[in-house]
């Protein structure tokens, strides 16, 4: 799967996937979307890139490697729960602030955590599988 067309298109599709995933991540609170599905979308952009080039090149393009990304995502999710504790309420109680007319809350932070975790998990699994596939070729 190393045709030139696929390689060039994957270069432009990867950022498109990521931007689209961010839109779906944000609208997820009230409409269909959310951390899980948008994480899958963003990850599929990278997986596409892995297919067109190879696993190593794709991982080099990432600022943070999949396993630390997983940990960061889970830490964000944990933090969203602890913010409630800091406000003197039980763990995971929702807290809200308004910045420039946009209401942000801990559920969004939790979703962002899920987003990163899903990307990390997907890319860890896919890179292992694709490396095996490369060996068979």
């Amino acid at each position: 799967m190393t045709t030139q067309i696929l390689r060039i298109s994957s270069k432009y599709l990867k950022p498109a996937f990521v931007v689209l995933s961010l839109v779906i991540l944000y609208r997820g609170h009230n409409e269909p979307g959310g951390g899980f599905i948008s994480g899958l979308l963003a990850a599929s952009g990278y997986v596409f890139y892995m297919l067109a080039w190879n696993v190593e090149t794709a991982l080099k393009k990432m600022w943070i490697q999949p396993v630390p990304l997983m940990a960061i995502g889970l830490l964000l999710a944990l933090a969203s729960g602890i913010i409630g504790v800091a406000a003197g309420e039980p763990f995971m109680s929702g807290q809200w602030i308004t910045v420039l007319n946009i209401t942000l809350g801990t559920p969004l932070l939790f979703d962002v955590g899920v987003y990163f975790t899903v990307i990390g998990v997907m890319l860890t699994i896919m890179s292992v599988i694709l490396e095996k596939v490369d060996q068979w070729d």
């Binding site: 396993v67 630390p68 997983m70 940990a71 960061i72 889970l74 830490l75 944990l78 729960g81 602890i82 409630g84 504790v85 309420e89 039980p90 763990f91 995971m92 109680s93 929702g94």
Partner: protein, 496 residues
Amino acid sequence: MSNLLLLPVIVPLATVLILLLAHGRKWLQQIIGIGGIALQFTVAVWIFVVVNSQGIQVIQLGSWPAPFGITFVADLFSSIMLMVAALIGLMTAIYAMPTISDNRQRFSYYPLVNAMLMGVNGAFLTGDVFNLYVWFEVMIMASFVLLTLGGSRQQMNGAIKYVAMNLVASMLFLAGIGLLYGQAGTLNMADLALKIRASDDAFLLNSSAMLFFVAFSLKAALFPFFFWLPASYPTAPMAITAFFSGLLTKVGVYALIRFFTLFFVQNQSFWHPLLLWAGGITMLVGVLTAASQYDMRRILSFHIISQIGYIIMGLGLFTVAGIAGAIYYMVHNIVAKANTFLVAGMVYKLRGTYDLKAISGLYKNYPLVALLFVIPAMGLAGVPPFSGFVGKLMLVVAGFEAEKWVITGVALLVGLFTLFSMVKIWNEGFWKKHTGNDASDNKKLPVAMLVPVAILALITILLGVAAEPVVELCMRAAHQLIDPSSYIEAVLGKQY
């Protein structure tokens, strides 16, 4: 409202995350991993002190009130279990330092142990049936990976049986939850307790109660669902086997005790004899199959099964004394059982085999190891002054008081057979003259192996010698279980 109750879940979670960030560095993994469990132990002791002085503690997650949200509850029973779980986690993690291969320690051992402890702690604390299912899954996922770590052929063979049995158990568990929810309309344990006690047709819940019973029996390795345990446990490294033997089956037993004291109290004339029979046969079968083995790990694995029978017997008696005996026995057994496995690991390090016939003569060259074996082994067999004696005494007395002669007789008989098995290990492994070459027989054991074993042995002695405060504590915990009104009031508030 007390966020303290969340720490047993948050501390291991945070530890796992930090460990993931410190991927691949053995020293960091050891320090953070063990430090995290030590912190968890401190938290567990703190929770115990609070529960002991101020009564049952409750938190409603995300401020959603019970019975709608998820509730975390700590009564005396669950806080005792939290302490013991963290203790075993800590001791086996220290023991793992010199015994588990470098690669495993660098990447996955410590995060997995912490993840499993998170599941175990969550299962002990949750007050919601579905949430319990989730914690079981967390625990079992981590244990799957721990069991297969390294991936030798033998391990895979054992792990497949373990995974298959657990998937069946989870499915039955989930089916039970579905039936229960359809019938009662709630899954909050305190709310269930109220509804079932007030209902005239609670016998309709027997079908879901049976599904739960089978699911937990599978996990707890009760007769006739025990066969997966001796097939899978001995295949892992000893630190992991000891950790499993202390915790996995006991979480199943914990769930049985919680369910059948708190809300499945309908049709007692059917359930209690069933529990007694299951317990009695489990004891007998476990101990008899153990007697026919010559591999140390397998003898000990079969003994896990027979010991679980004792705990279920206490539950089946359903008196305060019986349940107090079950709780005491559980604590004693977790400590002593894990310890005998750890000693078996030492023997393996010294002799390179678990086969009793090939070990022989350890007493002459390693008197300290012999001493460390005798304490938990005699504890398990129920010889005074060790902890097993007090546990068996409590259960036997409770059995006589409840006038259940057969099960009490079985319990006494099984005690004798346990002694036989332990004496067999002693005779074959330690006492008999060594047939091999004596000259190379002066290996030194690492301190990190000796210290946890010595600490656990000390606890076995203390539980036996200074039994009175512990017994009194178990009695109070049993009172809370038999009369759940304080539990219900703590969860649902005064107005129920």
